[in-house]
Symmetry: C2
Subunit: 176 residues, 2 copies
């Protein structure tokens, strides 16, 4: 096989929902590790990773209930805090790529993750999309919805869903 242009793998990544755990969700970092181990392997120059983080505008609704908004600046500082959290997340993945030597890009969008991911697939046209999943049962899925299921159906590129390993399930399996 001649090596042409690198295979462009888009990865949807998100923050952990666990309080005080300021990093990538368990399923995001699991999907990233899996992609490196099983797909990229030693062929560092053959792949490029494209990290997309979608921030949900209401994501911090509960945190914000105890906040007091007295001036327009209070909202600005909230926005910049959200932005900082998203950047911190992408920094984690970009740093890991840099350490390995694999080429990458990362960016943040706001909106409904499943819709935005499919929209960005259309725009960026990766070779395929990797998404992590909590691997919940059908009963749990009813309440939380799953981004991976939606993307598998609607994204205009092949999609591979990496389920969280059973031994990494947190105390509350809805957490990630």
């Amino acid at each position: 096989m001649a090596e042409g242009e690198a295979t462009r793998i888009m990865m949807g990544v998100n923050e952990s929902t666990i309080k005080g755990y300021p990093h990538a969700s368990i399923s995001s970092s699991g999907a990233f590790d899996w992609t490196l181990q099983k797909i990229v392997r030693s062929n560092i120059s053959g792949f490029k990773l494209l990290f997309l983080h979608v921030q949900v505008p209401d994501e911090d609704g509960f945190d914000d209930m105890d906040s007091i908004y007295a001036s327009p600046d209070d909202f600005k500082s909230m926005e910049s805090r959200d932005k900082a959290r998203g950047l911190h997340l992408l920094e984690y993945f970009v740093n890991r790529c840099h350490a390995i030597g694999i080429s990458c890009e990362a960016w943040i969008k706001k909106g409904d993750p499943k819709e935005v991911i499919c929209h960005e697939v259309k725009r960026v046209q990766p070779d395929f999309l990797v998404v992590g999943s909590r691997g919940l049962g059908p009963f749990q899925r009813v309440f939380v919805g799953t981004v991976s299921e939606f993307c598998s159906k609607h994204a205009e590129c092949p999609v591979i869903t990496i389920k969280r390993r059973a031994d990494q399930t947190p105390q509350d399996p809805i957490d990630d």
Copy 2:
């Protein structure tokens, strides 16, 4: 990345439904080409391909309507013809792997493809499963069912579905 054991990719492959076209279906060979180009690339020693062909017992029902069965041997010759067709299919993929130098295994099972593929995933435990799909719309899918959709939901490993390229759709899109 240190190279450990090869990544084992299972591929469900089937014959073309187009009369007089004795080879792999368009979607199977498309999924195979895609896997080589986008995943394996030049890293031949990093991967092993596992080809599973599931023969549907009734698959040749229509052909058999014009046949006359006069002795038990007639059934035996039919069975050996089916077997020969399945072997011919696997030979195509094994030959292509041999030409490239990528390690592979191939085997045939009888039954309902979606059930058998999921059962074999459980038994063989590949790192992931690749299945081709005709990429039919929801209306067409109602009538033909899709193996890829079932496997995405039920296989105990990550699944990547490779849709047939639009420019490869045969005259009747149900054909493959």
